[in-house]
Structures are given as C-alpha cells and as structure tokens.
Homo-oligomer: 224 residues x 2
Amino acid sequence: MRETYHKALGSISEALVEMANLVGSAMGRATGALLDADVQLADSVISTGDRAAEMQRDLEERAVALLARQQPVATDLRMVVTSLRMSADLERCGVLAQHVATVARRRFPDHAVPQDLRRTILEMGQLAQRLMAQAAEVVITNDVDAALQLEQDDDRMDELHRAIFQHLMDDQWHHGVETAVDVTLVGRYYERFADHAVSVARRVVYLVTGEHADDFRAEPTTPR
Amino acid sequence: MRETYHKALGSISEALVEMANLVGSAMGRATGALLDADVQLADSVISTGDRAAEMQRDLEERAVALLARQQPVATDLRMVVTSLRMSADLERCGVLAQHVATVARRRFPDHAVPQDLRRTILEMGQLAQRLMAQAAEVVITNDVDAALQLEQDDDRMDELHRAIFQHLMDDQWHHGVETAVDVTLVGRYYERFADHAVSVARRVVYLVTGEHADDFRAEPTTPR
C-alpha cells in the first residue's frame, strides 16, 4: 500500500517533468517556425499543444484519485495540490507555443518577424526554452537556490520584452501595423511562457520552505 | 462535525462568487478608466487586483485545510479540487483588469483608445463584466444550461476581437504604432478575461455532469 502510494506521488512529479519537456520543446520549435516561416514545423507545434492539454487532464484525474484513495496529509497533500496548479501552468505554456506557431502560419510565406528583431526574438525563444528546462530540473531536485536563480534569469526576458516595445515605438519603425501587431502578440506570448516557468519554480519553493517567495510571481502590473 | 464540513464547503463557493464579483467590477472600472482616461479609477483597479490575489491564496489555504481535516471523497472532493482551478482563473482575471488599467494610466492624459474604436472597447468591457456575472451565477446555481449559454455569449467577444484586428489592418488606420500596440494588448486582455469566465462555467458543467463540455474552453489556436 505504502509503495503504491509513493509510486503514485512519484508518477505525478514525472508527469510534470514530461509536460515541461514537451512544452519547452514546443516553444523551441515554434520559434524556429516563426523565424524560418516553416509551416510544417508550425503544424507540429499545434498538435503538441493538444497533447499537453491531454496530459494535464490525465494528471488531474490521477491527483484526484490519489486524494480520494490515499487521503494524503501534510507535505504530501500540499504536493498533490501544488501539482495541480503546476500542470495548469504547463498546459497554458503549450497553448502559448501554439499561438506563436499560429502567427508563423498566418504570415506564411512571409516572415512575421522583421530582420531587425530576429536576434531579439531568437533570444526570447531560447531563453523561454531554457527557463522551462530549469523549471523541470527544479521539480526533480527541489533545489530552492536553482528556483530563485530561475527568477533572476527571467529578468532578461523582461528586458527583451521592453526592447521590443522600444523598437516598436521608435520613429524608425517602417514595417507597418500588421507586423507591429504580430510582434506585440509574440512578445507577450514569450513573456507569459517565461512567467509560467517561474511560477512552477516558485511553487516548488513554497512546497519546500512553506514560504511564498514574495508572491506567486505577481506579474508586474506594468506589462510593458 | 458534518455541519462544520458543509459550512467549509459552502464558504469556498461563497469565496469564489465574491472573487468573481470583485474582478468583474474591476474590469468594469478598468474599462471606464480606459475610455475616460481616468487615473484615479485606474489606480483603484490596480489595488483590487492585489486583493484578488490575496483571496486566491486564502481560498487555497482553506481548501488544503479542508482536504487534510475532512478528507472529502467523490463529488465533494472534486468540488474542492475544481474550486482551486476556478480561483486561479479568477485571480488571473484580476491581473488582466490591472493590465487594462495600466494601459489607461500609461497614456494619461491622452486616451489610449481612439474614437473610432471606443464603441467596440465599451462593448468588450461590458460583455466581459456580464460574462463574469453569469459565471458567478453558475457557481451558485450549478445551472448547466446557463453555463453553456455563457459560452455562446462569449462568441460575441471573439467577434469583437476580430473586428479590432480588422480595423488595425485597415489601410485607413492613422493612429500610429503606439496606439496599435495598446489596442492589440487591450483586445487580448478582454478576450482572455472572457475565456477565464467561460472556463469557470465549464468547470461547473464538469462538476455537475462529470463530462468535459468538449474541453476546458480550448482557446482557439488562431488567436486572431
């Protein structure tokens, strides 16, 4: 009985890590689709997002079954409840990767991202994927320092996001409104993806220390 | 003991309704702040969002305590787990209202919304508030038909969102890139707010019928 119980708890963590890997890769591919105007890559991202949604539902079912049958208390209970929130974060990341891919798809055969923002978007995409890999690691290791580090690394995402807006507001912007709209949305999708990765790590901090590291990544109220 | 238990379950529902009322009003005021370029109103919205985050945390604590002490099963267990997800939806709505208010604040004393989009934004704001009021009612009544109706009413939000993008892509657009960026973001905030209201209602459907009405409002993968 005990063994089944610990197995069930462990399998929830494993499912979270698997989801994190899935959506991290999806965002990497979505960035590729965006920068290369690659429709096939975009389509593969769109199906991955649906897979993340399935996994989320499956994880929720397992968590509810575990609560009903094993009635965990204390840390174990908190772990199960927290995993529900984490899986919601990760599912959302799958949707955000789909959104990035959809922007690429819509502008095909054109490129949605103008040359002068390519490097910034590439860095955002890579950072998003790296933050998600760090979040997965934190779920495995329960390493509080690594979780707090992740949050610092996310500051770079905010810088990049601001850089995009500065570029958009620049009088030199000559790519038209449609591109401005696409870039605005894409910037927001990356930023939200990173916020969810930070949120996953912060929940681990709370699990381990019992303290909310500030808040659950209160998203800054000045989104720009 | 039984009485305390049912009281605790009931108080979680009440807290959800209170949160829904809070964030619904916040979005109403955020729309006012946006259309009237009213900084004081904007500031009041920003503090409301923080209140929603506090309520969310409080509700989560109570849910965990209830799971630990009362170990509910079957429908009651599912209700507690679902309430955690709903409260996350509602907390997010508080943040989205803050974002709308922040756009108003940033452009003060100018108006962020040009005259030719005023009516569309007003309708989006009113619809968002109405959808949230409907969601609150569904939480109280567990009325599946009302929940499904809410989803149909949300189609209007998608129409309005599309109308904004059509207007932005119009060759006649002469409000510049900064306004295009603001309008793009604001449109997205309203749409996400409505999605969360729909999501709350859909979770009620699942609680009552045991069936996922399609999916949890799988957000369309073509955000425009």
